[in-house]
Symmetry: none
Subunit: 252 residues, 2 copies
Amino acid sequence: MLTTHRKQLILDTLKRDGQVIAKTMSQQFGLSEDTIRRDLRELAEQGLLQRVHGGALPASPSVVDLAGRKLLATDAKTAIAKAAATLIQPKQIIILDGGTTTQELVKHLPLDFELTVVTHSPTIAVALIDHRNIDVIMLGGKLFKHSMVNIGAAAMEAISHIRADIYFMGVTGIHAELGLSTGDLEEAHIKRALCAAAAETIVMASADKINAASRYVIGPTSDVSTLVTEASVDESILKSFESLGVSVMNAK
Amino acid sequence: MLTTHRKQLILDTLKRDGQVIAKTMSQQFGLSEDTIRRDLRELAEQGLLQRVHGGALPASPSVVDLAGRKLLATDAKTAIAKAAATLIQPKQIIILDGGTTTQELVKHLPLDFELTVVTHSPTIAVALIDHRNIDVIMLGGKLFKHSMVNIGAAAMEAISHIRADIYFMGVTGIHAELGLSTGDLEEAHIKRALCAAAAETIVMASADKINAASRYVIGPTSDVSTLVTEASVDESILKSFESLGVSVMNAK
DNA sequence: CTTGACTGTGCATGATATTGCACGATAGGC
DNA sequence: GCCTATCGTGCAATATCATGCACAGTCAAG
């Protein structure tokens, strides 16, 4: 048996069962555990799986995923969301991204505010339950649970029928030269499309997102009409955004 | 068993029951309480749970609870949902309506169940957050807050691209002669379309829905393959359903 | 055909992780 | 305040791991 073939079988087993146990594999192939361990080590180096004591798990660790799901908004996020909420006029049509900051924004809208909200996040839709005068338009698609937003072709198609006043975008990074970025390719596509579907785009970003860049680019920073951020951000950096045509709003 | 896997199961139990008891877990895994305690300690260090005397509690209030608590389910509904859950096979594609009963059904699916769920209800989508092996496809549309489901032309269009194994339908009334009915015209349209998009339709209905009729008709009762209901319903009425080709399942 | 470099494998060895038990400390019920 | 269940820590036994090395098979150059 080719080692490449064996490694493929290990990956297949991992995909099927969600885990691989070194001992079981060694028995199955009739080889020593050492050999399997070597395979696992090599596959781990290639990032194809995650090594644990006794065997291996899929590369994207679900435990980390659970750990990363912090729904707690910081004070800064609350302040930013509150400031951003003042930019909304009654009866407008606005697009809301998923994410904790937009979630906070919803909390700062009066319960009888008149508005139409377009969103691809079921979490946002649920958060708007009690706002009796807000019409919610949901964009469908495949739910990307990491960010709790719908993505994929169906989402893109749905966006193409939308024309909104404001798009409130959440980003992983906003950089004067490198532009807007996020951690997932599909999400980047969706955000780009939403940006195009709205007359203006407002980015809400806490200090750690400013002049940071992530893996996938959404578009140039000049696409943004207003950036809402914290007061603690360096003046000169904000100036560089303003020179790109972005009006900066400081939440205190 | 991998220790990582065991920890995952502990977290699953915690999510499902809202608490974990060290003694119970040790018996379940056939390990000493010391080992469980060690696991709990480590998980607590990662902030994934909160350690208490005798076991552990969730670290932060669950999103599922926040969304689900508002709608309280009766004992009958719980029993019906539990029975209905047994009709689902792994790796199937199922359509879930909105409503309290389907919400209950979600709670009875194991957290590692493999499934594709199509839904037009953001509430259901949010409830499926922790089911790591369930792919969620959301159908967009205009959110009808009364039932928390997406309706309208966009929803209809999205449905036309779907082909599922089972559709779990919630109804306001199921009547031997008057058929299936619901309180909103748009919803009736959607339900009709979803019914056509699935190989079989399962209706979950508590006693008060049986032989009741509402304003808008979804379709004939013969469209239903299985009716899941309570034991308290009159035998002769259930017989009348069976003569229409509906197989009746009694949740006790 | 022979030789030597290379690869895949299994085994030995010391290192590390996991587990169960013992024992004293602590918490919670009454 | 007492009693019991639970807890944390240290320790020993076992399982699993990484590393180095030996051996067999492959392949290509000489």
